[in-house]
Structure formats: C-alpha cells, structure tokens
Symmetry: C2
Amino acid sequence: MNESAFRAKLAEAAAAIERTLDAELALEPHPGEPARPKRLVEAMRYATLAGGKRLRPFLVIETARALGRADDGPVRAGAGIECLHAYSLIHDDLPSMDDDDLRRGRPTVHRAYDEATAILAGDALQTLAFQILADPTTDPNAETRARLCAGLARASGLAGMVGGQMLDLLAEKSEPLPLEEIARLQAMKTGALLSFSVEAGALLAGATAPATTALEAYGGALGAAFQVADDLLDAEGDEAALGKRAGKDAGRGKATLVSALGVVGAREELGRLVAKAKAAVDAAGLGSEGDMLRAAAEFVAARKN
Amino acid sequence: MNESAFRAKLAEAAAAIERTLDAELALEPHPGEPARPKRLVEAMRYATLAGGKRLRPFLVIETARALGRADDGPVRAGAGIECLHAYSLIHDDLPSMDDDDLRRGRPTVHRAYDEATAILAGDALQTLAFQILADPTTDPNAETRARLCAGLARASGLAGMVGGQMLDLLAEKSEPLPLEEIARLQAMKTGALLSFSVEAGALLAGATAPATTALEAYGGALGAAFQVADDLLDAEGDEAALGKRAGKDAGRGKATLVSALGVVGAREELGRLVAKAKAAVDAAGLGSEGDMLRAAAEFVAARKN
C-alpha cells in the first residue's frame, strides 16, 4: 500500500473520531443530565479535539473493518479509547509527574487552565471512556460491551498503563533498568492500550479465537514498535516536529530502549517488531483486507512525530 | 429497628468489603498481569483499607437484600463503588484541590506518599471500579454488568461527581450561590454516587420498574440528607470526631446548605429528607424487609462523623 492511501484512511478515521468526541463533549447537557460545568467541558474539549494521529481509534476501526465490520460501533469504541488516552496525557503532563508545558505545540491543559481543572478533566475523560464503551449505541450485544469495559480496565489500570507510568516515575530515581524491565514497563505504559485497541476491533467484529490470538500478537508487536520509535524520536528528533522538548527523556534519566540498545540496536529491534507485526496479520488469516494493518506497522516505525 | 442492630449490619457489610478489596488489591500480580508496582498498590491499599463507614457498599448490599438477593454479587459491586469513592477522596484532597493534610485522622495519600503517587493511585482506583463491575464474577448477566458500568459512569463523570467537584471549586471564587444551585451541585458531587449505589442494588436484584423508580427517589433523598448532615457537621462538629478540620468549608467560602438555610433551617430540611426517603421505601413495596434502608436514612441524618 502506498503511503498516501494509508494517510487518507488515517485522516478519515481521525475525522470520524473528532465528530464523535465533539458530540459526546457538547457544551449543553445531554438528555437527563443536571448540568455540565462549562470550564470542565472546555478543558476536556481542549485536550481531545486538537487533532493528533488518532492511532488507537484507527486500529479499532481498521481491525474491525479487516474482519468485515464497518459501521459506527468501532468508531464509537475508538472514541472511548481516545478519551482514555487523552486523560493519561493530561495527568502525565502535570507538574508532579512529567511537568510538561507543551503538548502538540500548545500549552498543556494545566497551563492553559489550571492544575485542579486538569486533574478533573482527566478524571472525567477516563469516566467518559467507560461510559462510551458501555453504551448500547456502541454495540447492541451486552456481552461485547461488558468485555470492552473489562478489557479497557485491564489495559489501563494498575497492571497496565497507570502501573507503567508508576514504574516509569520510579525508574527516574533508580539505577538504569535492565532491558527486559524497560520492555515490560513500556509494554504496560504504552503497549497495553495500543494492543487493546486491536483487541477491541476484533471483539466488535466477532473474530474467531485463533484470529483474536494472532491479532493480539499483532497489537503487542505494534505497541512495542511504537515505543521504540518514540524513544528514537526523543533521542534524535527535532522539537518543531515533535511539538515538545526533544531529549527530555534521556535528560532526566527516563528508561528508554535507546539508552539500553543504542541507536543502531534500537533501529534493528524496530525492524524485527514490524516484521513480527506483519507476520501476525498473515497468521490471523487476513489477505489484502489486512493491508491497512500492515501499513499501520510501517507507519508506526517510520513516524516523525 | 434499634441502632445496635443497624450498626451490626453496617459492620458486617464493611468487613465483607474489606475482604473483597484486600483480595482485589493483592500485592502479587493477579493471573495474567505482567506486574503490579508495589508503591502504587500500597498507596491504593492505604486509601481503601483504612476503615470508613462503607455507606455506599452498604446501600448496594442492603437494597439487593431487601429485594431478595443476598449472594456475593452486591458485595463485589459495592467494593467497585467504594473504589470509585476512594479515588474521588484522594484527588479532592490534593494540594491543587481542597489541599487537605488529614483524612479520617491519618495523613492524606499525597502526604503519606507523594503527589504523583496519589494522582496515579486515584486514577487506578477509578479504573478498578469499572473492572470489578464489568467482571463476570460480579454478575453472570452481561446486560447487568454493562448497565452497572454505564450507571457508574453517568453518576461519577462530568455531569455527576466530577462535575459537582468542579462546580464546588468554582463556587469558592464566586458570589454565594442561590439555594437551588447549591442543592444541584451537591446532588452531583455526593448525591449521584449514593443514589447510584441504591440503583445498583436494585439492578443486581432484578427489581421491577416501579420499585426501581421508588428506590431511585429513596437514593436521591438519602444522598441529599447525607450532604445536609455533612454541612451541619462541618458547621458544628468537633475535629476529633471528624478526623479532619471542622469549619473549613464555611471558612473558605464553600457552598453549603447551612450558610443558605441557617442551622435551624438545615435541621428542618434534614427531617423532611429522612421522611421522604422512608416514604420511598414504602412506595417500593417493601415492608419489614425494607427496615434496614429506613434505618440507613436515620443513620445518615444522625451521624457524628
């Protein structure tokens, strides 16, 4: 697949996600709601409607599509996962965490609003993620909705994303971690939610058990590739493209694969992971209908921001 | 019902909740989990296993029991709701929010650990709340689990608990709010989760639609009574019994019903709300099997901490 075809699909998914989030985060209360505090909704909109690649929703949508489901359900589930991702960025940027002033070239939420509003906007975005996944308009099958909620919780809680962030903060103050521990930390912090995005697409499309297993392997390899690429960008990237400070992770002793493997070793690892992801798409029994997922693995490895 | 019978049931529910949370928050990873960061789990345990009345789980358990369900499902759902409540307390206590050093007579989580750990422990407790509600061991019926997740999200998100906390923070900086706005703010901040606890019990017990409607009214009145009693305690209470500073809400211009109604007016309102709650138990068709819910309304109004 050529890159412009891939980018067109990525933009199409991003537009669908923007529309869904714009409606979910309307300033006026939804039917039955007593009120929506304007400042809170504005901060939630600021954090979620400012563009971004929407890679996680793309994975939900394209995994479901590869397996034959192309209605609005995967878009809604993707929007829910994007809310979860946005909450994690808001909280990670806080002064007591990574203390970042910029995100995608704009002031972070606590700089644009204030710290209390940022904490609450993150909290409410996490809640909204589960609200969207549990809503009957996302899928008519309650078993699917309950499994989406359980899966998101597993990927994002103390043994997933939040646990990974805790390990990352602890690593800043410790001796350099061995390679396996860095990989585990990153699998929890970033990989789990990327991988769950693929699982969610498979679940929504009613994938068979063997296809689901293969797609979980795809999600795991893609998540790992994403993180290696991220570490390479931090080590080599330029700030204008990143929209945030480069070199900041290494500068504060964050655990990165580049510090453990070197740039050349990390590039080799990235190549292996992309190959593994593509092989998993084959193993899921997907022919040309899986090309968008194969292209996503290439894209993740080659991204410039 | 005499008070000691009520207190025995409250203690029984609290013990069941402690057991469930102790297992959910085991230091060792659960099967299939890559890791549980020790410091994070310890902070989550510190926040959830330090006693407390466990009023919300009690309402889940006793509502379900009044309607004929007395197995472990309502205990698990109650534990999930307690995780949600605990997360809200951790975040509300943070320096950028209410900036409290003490909670139930002990250092707050960010004082006992640090601010980043407190934010993450709160985040992961919110996630765990949904994880428990979505888990098949809480209820075999996926429709019930999905509705529990959706209901918890509605009660606790931007149009519920978190929205109420945002309005409360904004109220500190504004002109005194009119009575109806204080009532709405409190219904969102505190009432919604108390009320959902009753709804969850009704849902788990498969209540009829009319009984559910009546029990929702019970939950609403009980939640409002809880908040009036809370404001009276803040205005009149002593710090030793409260385990936190008294008079702090009025002192920083928080919106309270006592400042709007006066102490006498607030006591009268409390009496009306208790009567309304008890009448709703009758309307739900509950005879003596509803006595524990009636006693809960009395207890909420008469509590000393």
